[in-house]
């Protein structure tokens, strides 16, 4: 009895979480423009999606900003983390605490404060303001991911290298970076996803001349339900599910490999 109640409650929550996604997927193949009627299976909304110039532009902005912001933020973030690793504990504490601000602050507050900042400085809104905003929050995430990995490096290794006459740059490339490779990758991945998915901060810092996918979806949704948005949503949901399965598979294979190595 208790077991059934538990199963039913889990089932209901899962239904709640997945119902809108399933409904959207079904409607994306409905050839009728009206939601209530089913006029047969069709790919025409997908065809319309491909032809939609607004979305193409938005996709271009989304990807180019995410790629640029990720690269720049990862470089800055890694160097700042290395600097923090070397610095005195007082300075380290002050900077790492301040670094949490863009992460904890609600996006709305970050977004409008940057918007007003750009307005005051009379900076023209567009690609560059949106890119700068993305770099700002991406750097914070990269530092949060990379710094803990750095802290695992025993400082004795670095002292030993210095005693043997290694230059700073050699220490950086031969000792530090190889040991935090995983962290850098994870930080960059997190920055990239945050950037791709961001709406609020982009919305306030893009102005009229730039857009991204989230901003376009917002303006389309405000005008009401459009069948090609259903098609877009379906493609994005399927993409995400494939990505999750892929990551899961890679993780499982890693585990398997680890297990095999352990047995040897």
């Amino acid at each position: 009895m208790v077991k059934t109640v538990k199963k039913i409650s889990i089932g209901l929550v899962m239904l709640f979480l997945y119902l809108p996604i399933i409904v959207l997927m079904i409607y994306s193949f409905n050839s009728s423009e009206f939601l209530g009627v089913w006029e047969g299976f069709s790919f025409k909304w997908y065809a319309e999606l491909v032809r939609n110039a607004e979305l193409k532009e938005a996709l271009y902005y989304t990807i180019s900003i995410a790629v640029l912001a990720t690269i720049i933020a990862t470089i800055i973030g890694v160097f700042v983390s290395v600097g923090l690793y070397y610095s005195s504990s007082k300075l380290k504490k002050a900077v790492t605490t301040a670094n949490y601000l863009p992460i904890v602050n609600p996006d709305l507050i970050t977004g409008i404060s940057l918007m007003i900042f750009f307005v005051i400085l009379r900076i023209r809104f567009g690609f560059s303001t949106m890119l700068l905003a993305h770099i700002i929050f991406d750097v914070a995430y990269v530092i949060v991911v990379v710094l803990p990995k750095l802290m695992h490096i025993d400082f004795a290794q670095i002292e030993a290298a210095m005693d043997l006459g290694a230059k700073r740059i050699t220490i950086l490339f031969k000792i530090i970076l190889p040991q935090i490779k995983q962290g850098i990758l994870a930080g960059a991945l997190l920055a990239f996803t945050m950037s791709i998915d961001d709406f609020v901060i982009s919305f306030f810092t893009a102005g009229n001349r730039a857009t991204n996918l989230s901003i376009s979806i917002y303006s389309m949704a405000r005008r009401g339900i459009k069948p090609y948005v259903n098609a877009l949503a379906t493609l994005m949901f399927v993409g995400i599910i494939l990505l999750i399965l892929l990551i899961n598979k890679i993780n499982n294979e890693k585990e398997e490999k680890g297990r095999l190595l352990n047995y040897e």
């Binding site: 709305l108 409008i112 005051i120 989230s214 949503a233 995400i240």
Partner: protein, 279 residues
Amino acid sequence: MSKKYNGIVIFYGVWVLILIILPLLIVFAISFIDGDIYDLSSVSFTLDNYKQAFSKNYFGVMTKSIWMALECNIICFLIGYPIAYIISEMKSKNRNIMVLLLLAPMWSNFLLRTYSWMVVLGNNGPINSLLKSIGVGSVQLMYNDFGVILGMVYNFLPFMILPIYLSLTRIDSGLVEAAKDLGATNKNVFFRVKFPLSIPGVFSGTTLVFLPAITSFVISRLLGGGQYILIGNLIEHKLVVQQEWQVGSAIAVVLMIILLAFLAVLRKVARNKLELSLW
């Protein structure tokens, strides 16, 4: 040697100061000025922006926003706690699958998640089509409080479930066994051992739900409609549409004060609760 890297740390300190802290201070400063924000000689100190921010209409929007965020929080807790508890009692393999299933929708675009409910709740959506076909007739499911709360709960429920789930799974099973050995009933084990120990999870879940709920303007715009206004919509309207920087900033400052007050109250309650549970 270690000094040589200080340059980059100081660079980042300045970066944070100029790009993160200074913009916040500017919002604060602008909320107190009257006049052209581009012409420093024309500005003067005023409290008028706050008078406007607390005018009857806007004050109503603020109390409504707080109320909606609290309502969303309570619903998320009432649904989230039992679900977190059920998942925490599963076998570890099933647990991981459940957590993955809970998180998967969160990885899709937030706008699309909210938009999908416009399709489901709409007049021609599946629910209303069903109601019409069985003769009930169509029911207004969105462009009202119901739609907005539903959208908020949908988007933020996992933020409540996960921290509670984590604090439940971290409970030392020895404590539960000890309680049972001493003759505690299942009910007592839950109310005197498990629930008190999961309270930190409830508090972090509450924070994680309240912050996005009270600052949200997308959910209220899409599922509440163009006439539906919460504090986030008000700020967006003042800044993006009307470009009234001063009043918009004043409302934003009020929002930040609401957030800080909420966190302070929560921290105080948490401290009292934790002291109680030590007894």
